[in-house]
Structures are given as structure tokens and as C-alpha cells.
């Protein structure tokens, strides 16, 4: 049965095939757990889970405008880490840090599911970004695909850590067959 979930200004109208969908940061799940981080939404389908990360880069976030030329990794970091307002902190950061932060949220979520004994299906990771232009979003997608080992990356693995990785904006989610079959995405 279709299910609608809203978080951080985004709304997802998942299709009938959805088994369950919830905001992971809510009190009945992992809200208030300071030790670990998490993605924003989990949607369960018959054969897979979607771990959905929601990002909004805008002036409201830390009061810092998103200024991110594609070739300027420091600017991308500034957008991602609003508190890194001084040059020293920015210089210490790197694109790897962005990937590290997003990957950590994914991995922590995976551990929560491990604790719940609910890693019984493959997992796809989708980061939905608004406030970047299309070129910046594409750049972030390349960064994340390099940062997360997709598929069964080693002979010793029996299942992937993550099956598919995508970083998209709302329009691309809705315009891509591989993603819009899960449902529609909109933003306030």
C-alpha cells in the first residue's frame, strides 16, 4: 500500500509495492542516539531497502551560502560543513571528508539495522540534494560513487555493503526510471 513520508522539507510518495517507510531519526527508531549518525529515511521494498539521505544546501543552513564551483573542493566543503567558517578549518577539510561524513551516516544506519537483525535484503543508497546546480550534484555523485564500495567487491563477501549509489536532485529522481519506480519526490 502506498505510503507518504516527509522529512526536512522533502516528501516521498512511495508506490504500492512499498513494505514500510519511516524517518529513522524519529523517537521510535534511532532519534536521540548521540553516539551514531544515520541517514534520514529508510524505505523497504519486497527485495531491497532504500537508505535515503536528504541534503539542502542553502543560506539557512549555518547562515552560509552554498558556493561551490565544481573544481573548487574547498567550496564544496564549506557548503557541507557550515561551521568551517575560518580558512584554517576549511584548509584541513577535504572532499574526502564530505564523502567520509555521508558514508559514515550510511554505515551507522547499517549497524542499527544489524542490531535489529534486519539486514536481510540488499541496500541502495540515494542522496537527494537541493541547493546545488546540476553540475555540482553530478560532481557529488562521482565523489560518493568513489567513496562507497558498490556491489560484491571482494571474493570473500557474501553480500554487498551497498548495491547502488546515486546522488540526485528532485527533478532527476522523478525523471529517472530507476528511481521513480519507487515513488515520487517533491520539496517544499
Amino acid at each position: 500500500m502506498a505510503k507518504t513520508i516527509s522529512a526536512d522539507g522533502y516528501t516521498f510518495e512511495f508506490v504500492d509495492e512499498v513494505v514500510d517507510a519511516f524517518v529513522i531519526d524519529s523517537p521510535e527508531y534511532h532519534g536521540g542516539m548521540n553516539a551514531m549518525k544515520a541517514v534520514d529515511i529508510i524505505a523497504e521494498f519486497p527485495n531491497e531497502y532504500l537508505f535515503i539521505e536528504l541534503k539542502k544546501y542553502d543560506a539557512a543552513r549555518g547562515g552560509i551560502e552554498f558556493r561551490c564551483p565544481l573544481w573548487d573542493d574547498k567550496a564544496l566543503i564549506l557548503a557541507h560543513c557550515p561551521l568551517a567558517t575560518n580558512a584554517g578549518k576549511r584548509d584541513k577539510a577535504s572532499v574526502k571528508r564530505i564523502a567520509h561524513d555521508l558514508r559514515r551516516k550510511y554505515c551507522d544506519t547499517l549497524l542499527y539495522r544489524f542490531a535489529e537483525d534486519r539486514i536481510n535484503k540488499t541496500v541502495n543508497y540515494i542522496c537527494v540534494v537541493e541547493g546545488c546546480d546540476s553540475a555540482q550534484t553530478l560532481r557529488l555523485q562521482d565523489i560518493m560513487k568513489n567513496a562507497m564500495p558498490r556491489g560484491v567487491a571482494r571474493d570473500t563477501w557474501v553480500r554487498p555493503i551497498v548495491k547502488n549509489v546515486a546522488v540526485v536532485n528532485v527533478a532527476t529522481w522523478n525523471g529517472t526510471a530507476q528511481l521513480n519506480r519507487y515513488g515520487k519526490c517533491s520539496i517544499e
Binding site: 564551483p69 565544481l70 553540475a135 553530478l138 547502488n164 536532485n169 532527476t172 525523471g175
Partner: protein, 337 residues
């Protein structure tokens, strides 16, 4: 400064009306949406405004577009027809002047207000075409004047402008800053000898033919700023400044364009480049800079336009559309069921 252009049934356009910024005008759009045509019409009109102008508007347009016959500049349609364009400029004293050019498919033309429009004072109008010409400059100018060469006039014009010797005196601080900035990039100064261009640095003189095309482009900009062809009160048209430039140099080009604009140069650039647009967006200071983005796009077989002061407000941005398409295709290629 140029304030407005209206075009009807002329070259690629059916009906177009664009208000121009006194600062930087950025023309974006897919191939075939008339960016270069628009700049050439404005350039031609400004050439007619110059007190040194010797060509008629007919001759100017013939040289700029090289049509088989002048009447071909009327937008093609069945049967006989007419086309026209009107360009308006505002003088420093606030007076507005317009010139209207009408042309029939038979090549019969009429210029309205040419006296009011032209020969008032000397204007520096520069058009930098996409292709580099400095490396091929020796002899080109005299050959172009004496023979029928199938080169658009902008190629001869740019060599003429670049070959002008430097102005006397130290020049303004802004000029010095811009020349220093270019010198940092090309690691030397531009020198001219017998219509040849050289890059002069600690290792001697290096011929322009041995320089990377991107450096030649920066060298051209150096010459034009050094001899004040581009200065306060001048109009600069630059077709695809990004051509042959590494994207990292886009920030330098944008800094120079903004500096020129703050000095009082009116600028027109046509670009397909995301990096150039993004640098301009990030470097613009809303309090002191005047930038207008003019998006040209096809709708119902006709070229339309949208003008905004902010890049993100453009609805017809083919560059963003292309990145969107890449994003979709990337996911489509490697998403496994």
C-alpha cells in the same frame, strides 16, 4: 552604452527585443540560437557610431556576415520580404539615440537616423572572435585590405586593434592590475615587431605560433588592455571566451571582465561554458556590478529570449539541462536491479 536591440525578420530572428545591461551581458543558448548574430549586429551598429567610420552599414554587414548577397540577411521565407533591426544607445549626457536598418530580400536597404546615430565621437569597439588570429597576423591586414579574402571582418578588425601600439604614460591603477594579472598567467609581457606578436620573458622572445592557444588568447587581451582599445567607455564583444582556455583560467578572465565593467566598459560575451558562468555568478558583487544573463532558446521554431539578473533564474539553461541528462544517464548506466 548600448541599451536595447529590436530585431524583426533579420538573420536568424523572427521577432526579438532585448534590453541590455550597461555592464556585462552574457548570452547563453544552444548552437543556432543566434548569439553570435546578435553580437555582430550590435558590433556593426557601434562601428557605424564611430566618427572614424568609413564603411556604410551595408558594407559593414556584408563584411560581418559574408552573405552571397545582402538580401540573404533577411530571414528566409517564401517570396519577397523585409527585415529590420533597431539599436538604441544612451550617451554619457543621458541622451538616447537609435539607428534603424531596413533591408529587403532584393538587397534594397535604408538606414534611418544614421546622422543622429553616427559620427559623434570616436568609440573603441572591440570584437574578439572565437578563433585566434594573432599567430597569423603578419601580412594579414594588408592582404585583407587589398584582396578578396573570405574572412569575416572581425578577424581583420581584431588584428588592427591588437597591433595598435601601447598608450603613452603609466595608465590607470586598474589597467596596471589587469596587466599584472595576465602577466602572472602567461609569465611574460606581449611585444610586437613587424606585425608579429611575441611573449617576452626572462628567456627571451617566444613567437606566438609557439604558444598554447589559451595563452595567445590571454596575450590578445593583454595587448587590447595595454593599448586601451578596451578601456572606460569602450564596448567589448567576446565570442566564447572559454575557447582553448583551461577552466582554471576562467576565474582570471572573469576578474578582468568585472574590473573592466567597473571601469565603465560595456561587455558582451557569448558562452557555452558552465565554469565561466559559475565564476561570474560567484564573483559578482550585486552592490557594484551590473550583469544581465540573456538566454536565447528555440520555441515553436522561433528564437525567443529571457533576460535575468541572476543565473539561477534562467528557465532555459541548456548547460544545466545537459548536466541533468548526464546525471540521469549515469544512474541508468550503472544502477543494477
Amino acid at each position: 552604452m548600448l541599451t536595447e536591440i529590436k530585431i524583426e525578420n533579420f538573420t536568424a530572428f523572427d521577432n526579438l527585443e532585448i534590453e541590455l545591461s550597461e555592464g556585462i551581458n552574457v548570452l547563453i543558448g544552444a548552437n543556432g540560437t543566434g548569439k553570435t548574430h546578435l553580437m555582430k549586429l550590435l558590433y556593426g551598429a557601434m562601428q557605424q557610431a564611430d566618427s572614424n567610420a568609413v564603411k556604410t552599414m551595408d558594407q559593414t554587414l556584408q563584411g560581418l556576415f559574408l552573405p552571397d548577397s545582402l538580401g540573404r540577411l533577411v530571414k528566409r521565407s517564401l517570396g519577397r520580404g523585409k527585415g529590420e533591426f533597431t539599436v538604441t544607445r544612451k550617451e554619457e549626457d543621458g541622451v538616447e539615440r537609435s539607428i534603424r536598418y531596413e533591408l529587403s530580400t532584393l538587397g534594397k536597404s535604408q538606414v534611418i537616423n544614421s546622422r543622429i546615430w553616427g559620427r559623434q565621437k570616436q568609440y573603441n569597439v572591440v570584437y574578439i572572435p572565437v578563433k585566434d588570429m594573432l599567430a597569423n597576423s603578419p601580412g594579414f591586414k594588408s592582404l585583407y585590405e587589398k584582396r578578396e579574402l573570405y574572412f569575416e571582418s572581425v578577424y581583420a578588425d581584431i588584428i588592427t586593434m591588437a597591433l595598435l601600439p601601447p598608450t603613452k604614460g603609466p595608465g590607470s591603477k586598474e589597467k596596471g592590475r589587469m596587466l599584472d594579472m595576465i602577466q602572472d598567467v602567461i609569465e611574460g609581457k606581449v611585444e610586437k615587431k613587424n606585425e608579429k606578436f611575441y611573449l617576452k620573458n626572462g628567456h627571451g622572445n617566444l613567437e606566438f605560433t609557439l604558444l598554447a592557444e589559451g595563452y595567445r588568447k590571454m596575450g590578445l587581451l593583454y595587448s587590447l588592455i595595454q593599448n586601451e582599445s578596451i578601456s572606460a567607455g569602450s564596448v567589448l564583444f567576446w565570442d566564447e571566451p572559454e575557447a582553448n582556455l583551461n577552466p582554471r583560467l576562467a576565474s582570471k578572465v572573469v576578474k578582468i571582465l568585472l574590473e573592466l565593467q567597473r571601469m565603465g566598459t560595456q561587455i558582451f560575451i557569448a558562452t557555452h561554458d558552465y565554469v565561466m558562468l559559475k565564476e561570474l555568478e560567484l564573483s559578482t558583487n550585486a552592490a557594484q556590478d551590473h550583469v544581465a544573463y540573456h538566454a536565447l532558446y528555440m520555441e515553436g521554431g522561433k528564437i525567443k529570449s529571457q533576460t535575468t539578473s541572476e543565473l539561477k533564474e534562467i528557465n532555459h539553461n541548456t548547460i544545466n539541462d545537459t548536466f541533468d541528462s548526464l546525471m540521469v544517464r549515469t544512474i541508468g548506466n550503472d544502477w543494477e536491479d
